[in-house]
C-alpha cells in the first residue's frame, strides 16, 4: 500500500515537473549569418535577430568557441563596419559588443546606412583579442515606404545619423520608442550625440492625421533617446523628429517611416 502511494506521489511530482519544463519560454531565436576560424583556432560566428542585416539599426551578436567547443567569454571584441564604394570608403555608427552571460553571446549593434549592391559592399571586421576577422556581409534594402535610419545635415554644419532602435514590432497603442543619434566626426567615426532635445510628431501621411499623448524621446545613455509613441491604427506612419540644442533647431525634420 505504502509503495503504491509512494509511486503515485513520485509520479505526480514527475508529471508536475514535466509540465513546468514544457512551459519554459524558448530563448529568442538568433540566426547565424556567417562563421570563421581565427588563426588561434577559435570558432567565431556572427548572429542576428533576423535572417539578414538591413538598412537600419541592427543588433549584431558574436559567439566564440574553442576547438573543443567550450565557449570563450573573456575575449576583447570590437566591431568595425566598412562600406567599400568605388570612389571612397566609409564606416557607420556602431555600438561595441559586450558579453551577455544569459545568452552566451557578445552583443553589439551596427547602423548600416545603405544597402549593399552595385554602389558598394559592406565588410564587418570583428577584432578578436586584436586579431581582425573580416566578414563580408550583405545588407538588404528595407521594404519601400519604410525608413529606419537617415542622415540629416544640421544647421550647425554637422551630419547626424538618426536611427530607430525601437519599436521593433510596432503595435496599435502606446509603444516605447528608442532613437539613436550619432554625429559624423569623419568618415570613420560616428560618436553618439547626447546633447539633443527631441520633439516627436507621428503622422499618417496617407490621411494627414497624427496621434495624441506621445512622449518626446529624452536622452537616456550613449545617444539613446527614449520616449513613447502612440499608433492609433495600423498602416503607414511617419515619425517627425525635430532635433534641438537648447532653443536652436539643428535638424528641423528628421523623418523616419514605418508601417505595420
Amino acid at each position: 500500500m505504502k509503495k503504491i502511494l509512494l509511486l503515485i506521489i513520485s509520479a505526480t511530482i514527475l508529471l508536475g515537473s514535466c509540465k513546468k519544463d514544457h512551459k519554459a519560454e524558448p530563448e529568442p531565436v538568433k540566426i547565424k549569418i556567417a562563421e570563421k576560424t581565427t588563426s588561434g583556432g577559435l570558432r567565431i560566428a556572427l548572429w542576428a535577430d533576423k535572417s539578414e542585416f538591413t538598412v537600419a539599426y541592427n543588433k549584431v551578436y558574436v559567439s566564440l568557441a574553442k576547438p573543443d567547443g567550450s565557449e570563450v567569454n573573456d575575449a576583447s571584441l570590437t566591431y568595425h563596419p566598412l562600406m567599400n564604394m568605388i570612389s571612397m570608403q566609409h564606416s557607420s555608427p556602431v555600438e561595441q559588443p559586450v558579453y551577455i552571460s544569459t545568452e552566451h553571446l557578445y552583443g553589439g549593434a551596427v547602423v548600416f546606412s545603405m544597402p549593399s549592391g552595385e554602389m558598394g559592399s559592406w565588410q564587418l571586421t570583428v577584432n578578436v583579442n586584436n586579431e581582425p576577422v573580416v566578414f563580408d556581409v550583405a545588407v538588404a534594402p528595407l521594404p519601400s515606404g519604410t525608413k529606419y535610419t537617415g542622415t540629416f545635415v544640421g544647421t550647425d554644419g554637422n551630419s547626424y545619423t538618426v536611427s530607430l532602435v525601437e519599436p521593433v514590432l510596432p503595435k496599435i497603442g502606446i509603444n516605447d520608442i528608442d532613437v539613436l543619434v550619432n554625429r559624423r566626426a569623419d568618415m570613420m567615426n560616428f560618436p553618439a550625440d547626447e546633447g539633443f532635445i527631441i520633439e516627436l510628431n507621428p503622422e499618417m501621411p496617407s490621411m494627414g492625421h497624427g496621434s495624441p499623448n506621445n512622449v518626446n524621446p529624452a536622452h537616456k545613455s550613449n545617444g539613446h533617446y527614449k520616449g513613447k509613441v502612440n499608433f492609433t491604427m495600423t498602416g503607414d506612419w511617419r515619425l517627425h523628429l525635430k532635433l534641438k540644442k537648447g532653443e536652436t533647431v539643428v535638424v528641423e525634420d528628421a523623418a523616419l517611416d514605418l508601417f505595420f
Binding site: M207, F231, T234
Partner: protein, 677 residues
C-alpha cells in the same frame, strides 16, 4: 392649498387610466393615436371596431418605427428611410432603454444605424409598451423610460385551432412593398406561432420630385414561438427572431449598410396562480447582432478613401420576475436580472499605394450587469392609489481583449474598467377626483450609466457636428430628478389629457472639443470627447383632445412640446419642436373607415450651432388621408383592405430630428391587404 398637494400626490398614473379607457368599449376605436397612451397593441383583430387603430398602425405592414412615431411622446431620429431611432420626449440613446420582451439588446453600429427597433417587425409583436419614467416596470436603469417590444404570444385554446394570415402592400413612392404571412396553431396544452415578412424599397422621392439617393433598403424577418404547458398553471415558451437587412442606404451618412443581421433567442418559464394573482416569469436569452457598413455603392468622388467598418454585439442575459397580490388592494412585483453585453467594431481603410490601416472603433468593450427591480402598488381607497418603483443595478464595464486594451493605451492611463452602482426610484400617486376627472403625479430619480460608446469610442465620426468622438472612461453616471403631472378629463363624447413634465439632469453627458487632437476622419472639423457638464434641464408638455359627438365620428388633436437647455442656457441637441397631429375619422356604413390627418412641426430655432453643429429647421405641415374596409367572408375569414396617401400636398420638408436635414418622402400612395383566416 395643502389639500391640493395631498390630492396631487395621491393620483392614478396616466397609464392606468389610459389603460382603463382602452377596455371601455364605447370609445374603443380611436383611442390610440388620439391620447397620450403608453401601450400600442399591434395584432390585427377581426372586429370592425379595431379597424381605425389598425389603419393608424398600418396593420402589420408599417415598420415598427412608423408605429412608434405615432405615439405622441415619441419622435424619430432619421438617418434615412430605414432604422429610425426613437427619441422619447427628446431623450434618446443611452437615456432610454429599448428591450424586446424584457431582453436587453444593443445595436452593433457605431454610427447609430441600427437601433433595436430596426430588428423587430410588427408581425413579431403583441404590443409596444412605452414608459416615460425610470423605475416604471423597466428592464434597465434610465433617465427617460424606454420601449419594450412585447413578442407575439400564441394562446392556449379549448379545442385545437389553426389560424393564418397573409398580406401584401405596395407604396408608390420608392416602389416599396412588403409580403407577409403568419400561422398560429393552438390547443389546450400546446401553441405555436410563426411569421415572416419581406420588405424592399428603392430610392424614394421627396416632395416636388427630388430623388433621395441612397434611401433604398431590403430586409426579411422571421419569428417562431412555441409554447407548451408543463402543468395546470405553468408553461414554457421558446422564441426565436431572425432579422436580416441588406443593401440599406443612409442618405444622412457617408456610408451605407451592406448587411445588418440579428438573431434573437429566448427561453421562458411562466407560472401563474390566478387565486393569488401570482405571475412568475423566468427567462434566459441570447442575441447576436452583426452589422457591416459599406461605401462601395457611393460615387467615387464622394468616398475620400474606401473603408470597411464591421461591428458586432452579443448579449447574454436572464431574469426572473414575480408579481403577486400581497393582500387586498396591495400588489407587489420584483425582478432579479442580469446580462453581459460585448461590443466590437473596427475600421480598415485602404489608401492608395500604402498599407491598409486598421483600428478598433470600439476596442472590444463589455458590460455586465446585475439588477434588482421592485414595484409596490397600493390602492388606498376606491379613489386613490400609490405606486413606488425602484431599481438597483450594479454595472461592470471593461475591455475584454488585450488588443483593445493595447489600442486605448494611447489614450487613457491606468485601469480603465469601471464599476458602479445605479439607482432609479419613482413614486407615483393617482387620484380619481370624480368619475370624469383624475389626476396623477410622479416624482422619479433617474440615473443612467454612460454607454459603452460614450466610455470607449475611438475616433467615431458624427456627421451631425462633423467631429470625431473619443470615449471617456472617467465619465460619471448621469442623474436626473423628473416631475410629471397628468390631468385627465373624460366624458362619453369628449376627452382631454394634459401632461406637464420636467427633467432636472445632473452630470449631463455631451461632447466637448478636445483641443490639440488631430482628426482621424478625412475632412472632420475636430475631435470631441464625451464629458459630464454640471447640469441640464428638459421640460415640456403634451395636450391631447378627442371629441366624438356621435359614435361614427371622431376628431382628435395631440400636441407635444419639449425644450432643453444646458447649464449655460444653451439649447440642447436633438430637441423636437412643437408638434401637432390633428385627425378626423369617420366610419361610413359597415366597416369602412376614413381618416384625414395633418402633421405639423413648428420651426425649431433653439439650436446651438457652435456647440452642437445643429442648424434651425423650418416648420412643416403635411396632410395624410386613409381609408380601410373589412370584408367578412365568414366570421372566421376577414379580408382587410386599406389604402391612402401620405403627404398629399407633396410638400418638400424635413423635421428637426432628421440628421443632415435629409428630405422626408413626398406624396405616397399606398394599398395594403391582409387576409385573416
Amino acid at each position: 392649498m395643502r389639500n391640493y398637494i395631498v390630492v396631487a400626490c395621491g393620483i392614478i398614473a396616466a397609464c392606468q387610466s389610459a389603460f382603463a379607457q382602452k377596455t371601455d368599449s364605447s370609445v374603443n376605436y380611436n383611442v390610440y393615436k388620439s391620447l397620450l397612451l403608453r401601450e400600442v397593441y399591434i395584432q390585427p383583430g377581426k372586429s370592425v371596431s379595431q379597424s381605425n387603430e389598425e389603419l393608424q398602425t398600418g396593420g402589420l405592414q408599417a415598420l415598427s418605427d412608423q408605429i412608434l412615431e405615432r405615439n405622441p411622446g415619441i419622435n424619430m431620429i432619421r438617418r434615412g428611410n430605414f432604422a429610425m431611432e426613437p427619441s422619447i420626449r427628446s431623450l434618446s440613446g443611452g437615456r432610454i432603454t429599448m428591450t424586446i420582451d424584457g431582453m436587453r439588446i444593443f445595436g452593433a453600429c457605431t454610427d447609430r444605424m441600427d437601433p433595436v427597433s430596426s430588428y423587430i417587425e410588427p408581425t413579431n409583436l403583441e404590443s409596444i409598451l412605452v414608459s416615460f419614467s425610470p423605475g416604471e416596470d423597466l428592464h434597465g436603469t434610465s433617465i427617460g423610460g424606454g420601449v419594450d417590444f412585447k413578442l407575439k404570444e400564441p394562446k392556449f385554446t379549448e379545442g385545437s385551432q389553426l389560424n393564418g394570415m397573409v398580406g401584401s402592400g405596395f407604396e408608390s413612392n420608392g416602389n416599396a412593398g412588403q409580403l407577409l404571412a403568419g400561422i398560429e396553431y393552438s390547443s389546450a396544452d400546446f401553441a405555436f406561432h410563426a411569421d415572416g415578412i419581406y420588405r424592399r424599397s428603392s430610392n424614394y422621392h421627396a416632395g416636388r420630385g427630388t430623388e433621395v439617393f441612397f434611401s433604398q433598403y431590403q430586409k426579411w424577418n422571421g419569428n417562431i414561438s412555441v409554447k407548451a404547458k408543463t402543468g395546470l398553471n405553468s408553461y414554457i415558451k421558446a422564441d426565436y427572431v431572425q432579422d436580416e437587412g441588406r443593401d440599406i442606404g443612409y442618405p444622412a451618412l457617408t456610408m451605407d449598410v451592406g448587411f445588418a443581421k440579428a438573431k434573437i433567442a429566448a427561453l421562458s418559464y411562466m407560472q401563474k396562480d390566478p387565486e393569488t394573482h401570482t405571475m412568475w416569469e423566468t427567462k434566459v436569452y441570447y442575441n447576436f447582432i452583426d452589422h457591416a457598413m459599406d461605401d462601395t455603392r457611393r460615387p467615387v468622388e464622394q468616398v475620400a478613401m474606401h473603408m470597411d467598418m464591421p461591428g458586432t454585439s452579443r448579449t447574454f442575459g436572464a431574469f426572473s420576475s414575480i408579481s403577486f397580490k400581497l393582500r387586498e388592494h396591495h400588489y407587489f412585483k420584483f425582478q432579479l436580472d442580469g446580462f453581459s453585453n460585448k461590443l466590437s467594431a473596427e475600421m480598415t481603410m485602404y489608401p492608395e499605394n500604402a498599407a491598409p490601416m486598421f483600428m478598433y472603433t470600439l476596442p472590444d468593450p463589455a458590460r455586465t450587469s446585475i439588477g434588482f427591480d421592485f414595484s409596490d402598488k397600493v390602492f388606498l381607497n376606491s379613489r386613490a392609489s400609490i405606486k413606488i418603483g425602484g431599481r438597483l443595478e450594479y454595472l461592470h464595464d471593461f475591455l475584454f481583449t488585450q488588443a483593445g486594451k493595447d489600442q486605448v493605451s494611447g489614450l487613457y492611463n491606468g485601469d480603465i474598467s469601471r464599476q458602479r452602482w445605479m439607482k432609479n426610484l419613482s413614486i407615483q400617486g393617482s387620484f380619481h377626483v370624480s368619475p370624469r376627472f383624475d389626476l396623477s403625479a410622479q416624482v422619479a430619480a433617474g440615473a443612467r450609466a454612460p454607454t459603452l460608446q460614450e466610455e470607449y469610442s475611438f475616433y467615431i465620426y458624427d456627421r451631425l457636428d462633423g467631429h470625431d468622438y473619443i470615449g471617456n472612461p472617467q465619465l460619471k453616471q448621469e442623474k436626473s430628478i423628473n416631475l410629471d403631472l397628468n390631468a385627465n378629463f373624460h366624458t362619453k363624447e369628449f376627452k382631454a389629457e394634459t401632461n406637464v413634465f420636467s427633467y432636472f439632469l445632473r452630470d449631463y453627458i455631451t461632447g466637448s472639443i478636445l483641443p490639440g487632437y488631430s482628426t482621424m476622419t478625412i475632412g472632420a472639423n475636430g475631435v470631441k470627447q464625451f464629458i459630464n457638464i454640471s447640469s441640464a434641464r428638459l421640460y415640456g408638455a403634451a395636450l391631447a383632445l378627442s371629441w366624438s359627438p356621435f359614435p361614427a365620428f371622431n376628431i382628435t388633436s395631440t400636441n407635444t412640446y419639449t425644450r432643453g437647455t444646458d447649464h449655460r442656457a444653451n439649447a440642447l441637441l436633438l430637441i423636437a419642436p412643437l408638434k401637432s397631429v390633428n385627425t378626423v375619422s369617420f366610419q361610413a356604413g359597415r366597416g369602412t373607415i376614413f381618416h384625414v390627418e395633418s402633421v405639423s412641426n413648428a420651426r425649431q430655432n433653439r439650436v446651438n450651432t457652435e456647440l452642437y453643429g445643429e442648424t434651425p429647421t423650418k416648420g412643416s405641415t403635411i396632410l395624410n388621408f386613409g381609408a380601410s374596409r373589412n370584408l367578412l367572408f365568414t366570421p372566421a375569414k376577414v379580408l382587410k383592405l386599406s389604402g391612402g396617401v401620405t403627404n398629399l400636398m407633396d410638400s418638400q420638408y424635413s423635421q428637426h430630428l432628421d440628421i443632415m436635414k435629409v428630405l422626408r418622402p413626398g406624396r405616397n400612395f399606398f394599398v395594403r391587404m391582409t387576409l385573416l383566416f
